[in-house]
């Protein structure tokens, strides 16, 4: 899974999709995930990272990460030919 190449990500939590002209705001943990996805980090690794650094549990991360990635797809920020 990969964020589209031309999608711009700023340090301050904004994501810009030049293809559609749409902008998005992302919270800090969302930003971290977007950055990791840009680097093609596998989702399992992302889950592990969150589990190690945040006060939460695996089922919660599982659910929230899935939901977040679904939203990225819905906003067309993920490469088309990628499968979840």
């Amino acid at each position: 899974m990969k964020i589209k190449k031309n999608v711009a990500v700023s340090d301050s939590g904004f994501v810009f999709n030049p293809t559609t002209g749409e902008s998005f705001s992302v919270n800090p943990i969302g930003m971290k995930i977007v950055e990791m996805l840009k680097k093609e980090t596998p989702t399992q690794e992302i889950s592990n990272y969150i589990l190690e650094n945040y006060e939460t549990d695996a089922p919660t991360i599982d659910k929230d990460l899935y939901d977040f990635i679904e939203m990225l797809k819905q906003y067309s920020l993920i490469e088309e030919n990628e499968k979840a």
Partner: protein
């Protein structure tokens, strides 16, 4: 290394045409304490959901309301509207602050007597007073506010039989320029019904006309409607004086002042647009003072204010059961608070505040209750900070009508606690349990057993 507080990841499209239907964000600070008692501690000790009443707020509200009227008018009496919240602890707080009781059923009447209110300080309103109720009220010298002619005849018949003079007033309805007009209760001013009833009372030896009553509506946003109503009440009273040489003792203007809640569909928050108690006091007292009463003959002014005195004194605490994405992409949050305990969510966009720290990030959310029913929606759309499963929320302005109109439906009704002036927490109503409910049920013998 210490772990960071978890907040679920969100991405939100930036729209240029703000504000949208989810409204602007209104939550800036978590509500971790109520009257210095921790919300988390309250839930740990008493369960979730939980109603919490602040005794201090109740007392502040009634004192503030009394001040608003007493500084403008010589004789003022508040009567606590039982149906608004008839928990004994709440009623007795109002009685300690000098309020009489205003009741609308035999059950409420008995509750006021049980609370120790003298019969002559109970105002008995409403269209459904049984003969038993009326007999009690006549015997106790209670103030019977007659709603219709059938009741008038019943009171007359009973008073004759009992040989006691019944203390009565009539409820008057009238056009005050607001819509809808509440003309189903009492006697109409404009079409002469009110005069007809007054004549019948004045010509009877067994009824003493002590006052005039009106209640023009509830959650009224127009102080001017009260000025119109007070003017018409004064005209009636002066008409009675001129015609019969009889001076009534009081004018009862009922309740209905808006609380600081947000009515559904209103664009601005209630705290910004709803009139204050001072606005209503100014309208009513000026109308009476400017009427044709001689200054030394002004009647006692009675107020049956309900919601405006209790709404903001109570909170409903709850817990997040789950977050869910709806098929159209909207976010939804399920709370353990359903419309069965938060009845007023049908009228109000209740303010929901997280009870723990949160960031500035929000999501447009639909807030559901836990009932397996489509109608169980607490907020159709709210811009809410990110809540995790197990997080707590505080719903504000829930003191009026919820603790009386709640239903035992699917879930059992929760506990109610009151925080006293010293910060002590008292259970003022126990949570329901299965045993209690079963006490009302009876199973016919032939249905007692079965095999599956």
């Amino acid at each position: 290394m210490e772990k960071q507080r978890y907040e679920r990841p969100i991405i939100k499209k930036l729209e240029s045409n703000m504000p949208n239907k989810f409204g602007m964000r209104t939550e800036y600070r978590p509500m971790t304490h109520i009257d210095n008692v921790g919300v988390k501690d309250l839930i740990n000790e008493h369960g979730s959901p939980l109603f919490v009443i602040s005794e201090k707020s109740v007392r502040d509200n009634i004192r503030n309301a009394r001040k608003a009227f007493e500084t403008r008018y010589p004789k003022v009496q508040f009567a606590w509207s039982y149906k608004t919240n008839y928990l004994d602890a709440v009623c007795r707080t109002f009685h300690q602050e000098g309020s009489w009781a205003e009741v609308v059923s035999g059950f409420e009447y008995d509750k006021a007597i049980h609370n120790g209110v003298d019969g002559s300080k109970i105002i008995f309103n409403g269209p459904d007073k049984t003969e038993d109720d009326l007999e009690k009220a006549i015997k106790n010298n209670s103030l019977i506010h007659i709603d219709h002619l059938d009741e008038l005849y019943t009171v007359r018949k009973l008073a004759e039989r009992m040989d006691i003079k019944a203390q009565v007033a009539i409820r008057v309805n009238m056009d005050t320029g607001i819509y809808p007009m509440w003309d189903r209760f009492g006697f109409n001013y404009e079409n002469g019904q009110a005069w007809d009833a007054l004549n019948k009372i004045m010509r009877s030896d067994v009824m003493e006309l002590v006052g005039l009553h009106t209640h023009i509506g509830t959650f009224m946003l127009s102080p001017n409607a009260y000025a119109v109503a007070a003017g018409k009440m004064a005209d009636l009273a002066i008409g009675i004086r001129d015609k019969y040489g009889h001076e009534i003792q009081y004018i009862d203007m009922g309740g209905g002042f808006a609380s600081q809640n947000n009515l559904k569909g209103a664009y601005l928050p209630g705290t910004d647009i709803n009139p204050t108690i001072d606005d209503f006091a100014e309208a009513i007292t000026s109308a009476l003072i400017n009427s044709n009463f001689k200054p030394e003959k002004l009647p006692l002014l009675i107020l049956e204010t309900g919601r405006a005195l209790i709404d903001d004194a109570a909170y409903l605490l709850g817990t997040v059961i789950s977050n869910k994405r709806l098929s159209d992409g909207r976010r939804s949050t399920i709370l353990d608070i359903g419309v069965n305990v938060l009845f007023t969510s049908f009228w109000y966009d209740h303010k929901i505040t997280p009870a723990q720290p949160f960031t500035q990030h929000t999501e447009d959310t639909v807030v559901y209750g836990p009932l397996c029913m489509n109608i169980d929606v607490i907020r159709e759309n709210i811009s809410l900070p990110l809540l995790n499963k197990g997080d707590h929320v505080v719903i504000q302005n829930v003191g009026a009508y919820n603790m009386t109109q709640w239903m035992q439906f699917i879930t059992l009704r929760p506990r109610i606690v009151m925080i006293d002036l010293e910060g002590n927490v008292h259970v003022v109503r126990e949570r329901e349990n299965l045993q209690r409910l079963l006490e009302f049920e009876k199973v016919p013998e032939h249905l007692k057993t079965f095999e599956l």
